[in-house]
């Protein structure tokens, strides 16, 4: 196991400072939205984690492609780390969305395009780990995992554009679901874009740590210490 890089330590500290700072910005600095009340503040971290999840899945596809081209295991470590952290971010987006939906839509879940495609996206990347778990050699895990991560990335634009795609067909459904149901004041915008940035840094930090864990696992496997 190589020594922890200085840059990672700096990133750790930066994350530890920025996440509470963003939270403070959201709780104190932003105004309470007129129609929805305090629950609207879920929105900042909700969109940020959805963004983080999607970005992470794209990273997994790109690093998967790099693995297939270069055949170096380090790209696979990064790819699997990105999928795993992306799954957690996606789940956070879904759960925080549900917390918002309960008072606003009066239900935890609606079978609406954006929610459905996000849930499907999570299921696909869950299948990624089932696939890896069912393969025996590190090489086949990396190779087939990379292929699956690349194919699966089509769900990211589908999830992103799901609202737009459906709008031509089901205008009524969309009116209930879109995020753009309220306009943001300048303070809200500041908090919103800060959250996006902070979650991107948090994502990078977690993926980096998870990549190092994958590297450690791989070294243990080579020494015959783990299955």
């Amino acid at each position: 196991m190589p020594k922890k890089p200085l840059l990672l330590t700096i990133l750790d500290i930066l994350t530890l400072i920025l996440v509470p700072a963003a939270l403070g910005l959201i709780l104190i600095y932003t105004p309470v939205e007129v129609n929805m009340g305090p629950v609207q503040k879920v929105f900042y971290f909700h969109v940020a984690s959805a963004w983080g999840g999607m970005l992470s899945f794209v990273v997994a596809a790109v690093t998967g492609a790099l693995y297939l081209l270069r055949r170096e295991l380090k790209w696979d470590w990064l790819s699997q780390a990105a999928v795993e952290v992306g799954l957690v971010f996606g789940l956070t987006a879904i759960l925080s969305g549900m917390i918002w939906a309960q008072p606003i839509w009066n239900t935890w879940w609606v079978w609406e395009p954006r929610l459905t495609t996000t849930a499907i996206m999570e299921l696909i990347y869950l299948a990624y780990f089932i696939l890896r778990g069912a393969l025996s050699t590190p090489e086949s895990k990396a190779r087939l995992g990379a292929v699956f991560a690349i194919i699966s990335v089509i769900t990211v634009p589908i999830t992103f554009f799901s609202i737009r795609l459906y709008r031509t067909i089901h205008p009524v459904v969309i009116a209930a679901g879109s995020d753009a149901a309220f306009s943001m004041s300048p303070r809200m915008q500041t908090a919103f874009f800060t959250s996006l940035g902070v979650f991107t840094i948090l994502l990078a930090d977690l993926v980096w740590h998870r990549t190092r864990l994958a590297q450690l696992q791989s070294e243990l496997e080579q020494k015959g210490l783990a299955s």
């Binding site: 499907i120 696909i124 086949s140 292929v147 699956f148 690349i150 194919i151 089509i154 795609l165």
Partner: protein
Amino acid sequence: MNGLRRYLSAVWQVFRKDIQVEVRGRQGLPVMLVFALLVVFLFNFALQLSPGLQAGLTAGLLWVSLAFASTLGLNRSVSLEGENNALDGLLLAPVDRSAIFFGKTLSNLVFTLLVALVLLPVFSLFYDLNLLRPGLFLVVLLGQGAYTSLGTLLAALSIQTRTRDVLLPVLLYPLALPVLIAAVEASRGILAGTPLGDLRSWLFLLAACNVLFLAAGLMFFETILEE
């Protein structure tokens, strides 16, 4: 030009072999057919369906039966090559391995279209609704084309795992969801009497999925099968 002819001839030979195995053995298609009919009957009791169904319900039922039956065929098509190490023989052939993918996709498509050809009159009979419409044939062709090309690719992936063919539905269903949604929406529209022109966004989506998954097969089939 000569290279293309050789490639197409390889595709044709793989296709012909699959059809020949089916004609002589009759081990795949009858199972798919009976299974598709059983799904129809199961749904009938589970959902207490009655004749004169809504178009939406019929379209959904049709595609679920087709998707389930196709999965059986896809697994069969790949596990067949596992018997007597037939796959090694195929891989030894001095052709681009994507030719195997196209040949298998084609034979799988023919099988599922045959199932659809039986299923459509049966639906029409049982649910008192004319499903034998040219527009619906087009949707079935496009939908099954996309579904089987993705399915053939993922079946080749799942067959290499320890769990073998058990994994295919977990990988295939979530990824095939855009295809199924578009196919159900287009079928529903056709059964409700909507002109084809108004359904073109769904038909375009299906056509795009065909292109996308065939391209994915062309790019990745070689990588999936390499040992």
